[in-house]
């Protein structure tokens, strides 16, 4: 199963031999192929060696992407890939670290890590496969499921309202915030490339079709639109906030797609880079500390 019209460059070598087990019609195919194309194109356009890309996955249908792309990957545990991504970036500033996470994965299990990665402006990219339902555990509500959603754990419908993850990220200090949709693949690929090249914490919430448990294709096709140039001032918090609030993942409203916010701030990992520069003889340093003890 592949998306309707793959608009990216062919990069056959980036698809791994692992057998694909996503459901037919799953939005993950678009994300996989657009990420593959984004990596291939960035490698060519920006001269980034393919070996300098690292993908992380959490646990959920989305995480299988780590198996399906032939790129360095750390297929982590549920909700915890974001701190591991920061660790990878701390170790090697040349790496482009891209975290694929699910909405249950990161908005429920790992929300604390997401907030803090944004707060510290960790130089990583977080792509949320936001299908607004648990797929792999077969159909429970997630933090972005709309009020009234009837899942297997909430057959009477949930009474709580979803979070607006973009608003949460803006409040937490994310320096790059975007939303994509798996049926708008070319747009999605451009959002990925932009997010990966952003210096600092970049966040893309991808409205992803779950063909089996929560198929919102018609709803998204009807409501989603690509923001036009000048529709939001991406350098202004208030402008971004206003646009982000146009749709709250709950009530019926137009759904803007694109980049809402993008600013430059100091990167967390840079503070630490100087400390371990070179190849210091640390045993000599230990001896010195003990000899000069006071």
């Amino acid at each position: 199963m592949t998306p309707d019209q793959p608009p990216g460059r062919p990069a056959g070598g980036l698809i791994s031999p692992a057998q694909n087990t996503w459901c037919p019609g799953c939005g993950n195919f678009s994300i996989q192929h657009m990420m593959k194309s984004a990596i291939a194109e960035l490698s060519e356009e920006e001269g980034i060696p393919l070996e300098n890309f690292v993908l992380l996955g959490g646990i959920g249908c989305h995480g299988k992407l780590a198996d399906y792309l032939n790129v360095n990957s750390l297929y982590a545990i549920h909700g915890r890939s974001v701190p591991a991504a920061t660790g990878i970036r701390l170790a090697n500033p040349d790496l482009k670290v891209i975290c694929h996470v699910g909405d249950g994965d990161i908005y429920a299990e790992g929300l604390d890590h997401l907030l803090f990665a944004a707060k510290r402006n960790s130089d990583i990219t977080v792509i949320v496969h936001d299908n607004r339902v648990y797929g792999l555990t077969t159909g429970q509500y997630t933090p972005t499921s709309p009020a009234g959603f009837k899942g297997r754990s909430t057959p009477g419908g949930i009474t709580e309202h979803p979070i607006n993850p973009l608003e949460v990220m803006l409040a937490a200090g994310a320096t790059h915030i975007a939303r994509g949709y798996t049926k708008k693949t070319r747009h999605l690929k451009d959002l990925f490339k932009e997010a990966i090249m952003h210096r600092g914490f970049s966040f893309v919430d991808v409205l992803q079709i779950c063909a089996t448990y929560f198929n919102l294709t018609d709803y998204y096709n009807e409501h989603a639109y690509e923001m036009q140039e000048g529709e939001v001032d991406t350098g202004r918090f208030e402008s971004a906030l206003g646009k982000i609030r146009e749709w709250d993942y709950d009530r019926e409203a137009p759904i803007p797609l694109g980049t809402f916010y993008s600013v430059t701030k100091p990167i967390y990992e840079e503070h630490f880079q100087a400390l371990t520069a070179g190849k210091p003889d640390r045993r000599a340093l230990v001896r010195k500390v003990v000899e000069e003890w006071r």
């Binding site: 791994s16 031999p17 692992a18 060696p49 070996e51 300098n52 690292v54 646990i59 299988k64 780590a66 198996d67 032939n70 790129v71 360095n72 990957s73 750390l74 297929y75 982590a76 545990i77 915890r80 890939s81 701190p83 591991a84 991504a85 920061t86 660790g87 990878i88 970036r89 701390l90 170790a91 090697n92 040349d94 790496l95 604390d112 890590h113 907030l115 803090f116 630490f272 400390l275 371990t276 070179g278 210091p280 640390r282 045993r283 340093l285 230990v286 001896r287 010195k288 500390v289 003990v290 003890w293 006071r294």
Partner: protein
Amino acid sequence: MAEYSVLIGGKAGEGINTAGLSIAGLFSRLGYRTYMYFDYPSLIRGGHNFAIIRASDRTIGAHRTPVDVLLAFDQNSIDNHRQRVHEGTTVIYDASQVVRAEGYGLPLDDIVKEEKAPPITKNSAMLGALARVGGIGREILEDVLRATVPAKHLEANLRVAGRGYDAAGEAFTVEPVDGPALPVLTGNEVTGLGLVHGGLDTYVAYPMTPSSSILHFLANRAEDLSIKVIHPENEISVILMALGLAYAGEKSAVGTSGGGFCLMTEGLSFAAMSEIPVTIVMGQRPGPSTGMPTYTSQGDLHFVLNAGQGEFPRLVVAPGDLEEAYAWSAAALMLSWRYQVPAIVLTDKTLAEGAYSFDLGAVTPLPDREPVLWDGTGEYRRYARTADGVSPLAFPGREGAVVKATSYAHDEAGFTTEEREEVIELQEKRFRKGESLKAELATYPAVKTYGARDAGTTIVCWGSEKWACIEAAEELGARVVQPLVLAPFPVRQWKEAMIGAGKVACVENNATGELARLLRQHGFEPGRPVLKYDGRPFAVDELAARLGEVFA
């Protein structure tokens, strides 16, 4: 043997810990070996804090109940420690605070007011009085202050110390001994230095007593040691960041206590499956749950031995003093990388926050071990099957390698699989690493013994109880056997060490005898339990009395 014990007590926030270290410094200056036990409740102001500083012309690592000098900033410091006072004890107290006491009363409020010195200098008055009581020259007192007090506060401290010195009288004479003036460090500081010796690039931790001071110390010395020190949002993030660092090639370690280690267990299990090395310093304190945060315990041995879902090999070591903490922290980190297994350095509050004379030159280093790296030939497979179970490492950014690490059961290349044969083979590969590690450790001093082989009585202990046991054993004519490695358990070395053990007692700071249970699991008889679970370490005399009953 020449030895002295001094207790200094007061309220939290009065700098008792620092004052205790200055006292240890005074004795170190005269060539003595020192040990300090610091007892404090979990609060910021008030309560009762005290430190017992013991100095000896021999190596020590435990306190005794009686003291030669009692320095009291408040009435509690007199009333709570009556059992430590004997005929020869000199009591010095703050006459501004203490109403009922016999000894030298120093009007500390008046002294600091007259000397226009800040209240914290009252500690220097006590130090001065102690020097006088011990017949230590004023110039040595001033030397010690010069070496420890920042320049801008030095003059005030010298004046106030002089007032304390003049107010007391000589009760005994601390003769200088022939030994180097060793620095006094805590177990946590030395554990941190040991990790750096072992190759540490980055230390990651969330504050939790009794391990916080590793974080503070290394953060403070990050530039001196050329390391990164990171404090993330919680312990889950701590271990995942450490694993991310290690996946990308940086040697990392984390530190915590029981509650934080609970949060790390899913990360520990992830480390095992993904075969990413990590070293965890686990400082025990009494539980369950929050328990007594600032007190000591050896109650988490089986927790660390069994933590994490699934079955996997791990290294667990339990140092008993600074030299062991240094050598084994370094070894744990190196072996974790050599065998790609999680390593746990198990300490407790007694060792972690206790201060001891540290002789770096006396550390017997353990072997240097390097990780096995990919040679760059052929297609890289992160989990390639090998005879010893260790798959060569490559890190992302390496040309020609696609490095796929994962929490799922996987094939050699790192792709998820649930195929029976592959799952079994990779599982067995991981266990071969444990066997290889065990074989390697056969050449390490994984079990140590002290005293004569034919003693006829043997004290078994682990971790920070080592030195109380050694001293008690000398008094009782017994032998001490101490396992440094608890997993993989050094069965052969243990068997050899226990030949002719005679009567055996097993000393532990817990309620159920956790080492004893481990020994039984391996088919050894652990002897009679001697347990203490009030959050305090054994005093040498207290332990000797308990052992005397057991061996009677």
